[in-house]
Amino acid sequence: MDKGDPVAACVGRHGGDAGKLLQILRDVQAALGHLGPDAIDAVAQALGIPRVHVEATATFYHLLHAESHGVYEILFSDNIVDRMLGKDELMAYLCERMWLAPEKVSEDGLVYVGSTSDIGLGDQGPAALVNGWPLPLLDHNRLDLIAGLIRNQKPLPDWPAMLFEVVPNVRRGDALLAEPHAAGAAVQRVLEIGPEGMLEELERACPRGRGGAGFRTAVKWASCRRASGKAHYVVCNADEGEPGTFKDRVLLQAHADLVVDGMTVAARVIGAARGLLYLRGEYLFLAAALERVLQRRREEGLLGDHILGEPGFNFDIEIALGAGAYICGEESALIESAEGKAGRPRNRPPFPDTHGYRGEPTVVNNVETFACAAKIAVRGGAWFAAIGTPESTGTKLLSVSGDCARPGIYEYPFGVSVRRVLEDCGAQHAHAVQVGGPSGTCLSWREFERRIAFEDVPTAGAFMIFGRQRDMFEVARNFTHFFTHESCGFCTPCRVGTSLLSNHMDKLAAGKGSAYDLAQMQRLMHIMLTMSHCGLGHTAAKPVVETMEKFPETYERRLKALDYEPAFDLDGALQTARQITGRDDAWAHLDAGKP
């Protein structure tokens, strides 16, 4: 390998496999600072694939860029919860301290400050990433320190460790988190009861997928086990991109063996020899520790060939990193991304259980689902089924953030009321809770008796609390811009619909809205819900429509007229003419009589 050629080194590290294109591009950018046309060319040549395919992947992901972002790239997490904690003011403060314009590289090429979608630190925000590494709990003092480090060009490894310290913040543990899990206990158990026995336990336990969709795990695994193919794969979906969610971060940081046990159990059931842990790019800081866990397990005989001495039980896991794309949380988009392509959801059917990673039968489950499966293996299906409600068995990890005294992870049996969670985390004056993130459900204070369960309020785990002082219009506007930024652009209704929604919300925010805009947004919701390609488009209008319904006053007070109001300022358009003619009398204004 030529040491002087970083691209060749990166391609070589991934075995020259075009299926690893995204990993290669991440590495090349880390080595060169950005992915310019020459780098794209070099990667294409080294892999022997068309450069246009390399460019299509490179331009899809938010964390990859064709232009240099300087020596230090700082991306502030832009979720509404970060904003409530002062993100906008802090970002402006840092820019001012460093004589910078946001979203532009400094004149000396040293630093770039911008925004990015929620980075999964809602319990310890406001937060940012510096060259991909998390900076939690930002305040003026820390930003002063950071500005000094950047000005003195201190390399990241020399920065004080406390700047990067991310704590698990588990506030309440239950079936999954309360008691320690012995690494390999679930694998041992599945060897005793066999794949069929494990499926029976799963059917008894009846868990539903924890990623949001709630598909029955036993059905998915059994179907994948039956499907024929050259190989079977287990994929762990750790692309935790839903704003306000950070429970997978904690599971992988503090309970990795439980998750990997679950993946290994799945491998035994479906007959997979290879597993993939798809980790969102924003969780780069977890990768090294996870690699160490995998390595330790190989040494302990819990991964690799003949696991626990069982002849033919071969299974190993590799980590694939994302690069900033919420849509990759959708399982078929995740598979596309894991195959090195842009993360656009596939046409389904077929589903991954028969046609998944590399076209082969694949089980894709959320991190928490694998943790549940491991516990079910150890404690049995009946134990699990006795927790929660009959339709929603087991527990749910909630990522609690926003206006409360004690944000963090709370694990409850399904069926817990929203009010109970609010009491436990010290949310005294809650006005609304966004359960499940922007694609979830907005509950007003009138609905706090409702319960967290698939049959009432389903959730992938986010629980964002908004106090009386918060403006729910701004919450919905933040979510709408998030969906616009994260739409993959494949289908018309989502690609254009999300932008139209953002435009309407911005028009309302500027005080130029009318009832016509509200009606248009209702109409867009219908089109996006019925015609979009995937869940992102289906739910992108939901925050607007729900807040419009539950907090109508926040919209109504922004309406300028009840009929139609144009987005542009008609009178403002006459300003040039007024300047040229030197007039500013009443008749030089559209609304004569109002100079």
Partner: protein, 243 residues
């Protein structure tokens, strides 16, 4: 895969094994509006104009397989109104210049607009800054008029075996990119004889020196509406396949 029958807009039609709803409907003389699909090409399912209700559930007719006994709603006022909205979206996200466009009268976007009765826009135009690439000696690429149907991508990859095009970037910034470090079409190996140079349903990829050759009144959709032309395209494709 089995053959069988299904009901579309109250009519019972037959389908052959493996056929999509769109194909089976076309065989039976039922037009389902679409822009990203072309007979003989792999279905893509992105424009969503062909959305129909199957047993009450919306699906893309170009990718969904026909199944025995399903009930399909297609030509209903509600679906056509939604399709009209999608067509409007395609217009407002780009910069379309129908009165001056070389493709006018032979453009599928325009013809589908007429078919759906699109008379005015309910959405505000984006007027996005988009690039025009005239670097190729014979072919013009105008991204202002592109609707991201992916047909040029598939034509170049699957028919020409060249991979000249791809869709790069994402969301509202998604755009056609070309296989050259310069980003210029003139630096690719696209040839004027390639399928990819002729497959564009709108005025985004045009052959130079052939504009306005067909007089108004004689252009494709001047003569017959898109519903009839589209069904003919399916028929021709079937004859090509000897079906």
């Amino acid at each position: 895969m089995r053959d069988g029958h299904f009901v579309i807009d109250g009519r019972t039609v037959a389908f052959r094994p493996g056929q999509t709803i769109l194909e089976a409907a076309a065989d039976a003389g039922v037009y389902i509006p679409r822009l990203c699909h072309r007979p003989g090409y792999a279905p893509h399912g992105s424009c969503k104009l062909c959305t129909v209700n199957v047993n009450g559930q919306p699906v893309s007719a170009c990718t969904a397989k026909a199944q025995d006994g399903i009930v399909v709603e297609n030509d209903t006022p509600a679906l056509n109104d939604d399709r009209r909205a999608l067509t409007e979206m395609l217009f407002v996200e780009g910069n379309h210049i129908c009165p001056a466009c070389e493709k006018s009268g032979s453009c599928q976007l325009q013809a589908v607009g007429y078919h759906l009765g699109l008379a005015t826009f309910r959405f505000e135009h984006f007027y996005p800054p988009r690039s025009l690439d005239a670097s190729h000696p014979d072919i013009l690429l105008d991204r202002n008029r592109c609707i991201l149907c992916d047909l040029c991508v598939r034509a170049s990859r699957d028919v020409d075996g060249k991979n000249v095009f791809a869709i790069g970037y994402r969301g509202i910034h998604a755009r056609v990119i070309v296989n050259a470090a310069s980003g210029h079409l003139g630096d690719t190996n696209l040839d004027v004889g390639d399928a990819a140079a002729h497959v564009c349903p709108v005025g985004a990829i045009l052959i130079k020196r052939h504009a306005y050759e067909v007089p108004i009144g004689k252009r494709v959709y001047d003569l017959r509406p898109i519903a009839a032309v589209a069904l003919d395209e399916f028929r021709a494709q079937r004859e090509d396949e000897g079906g």
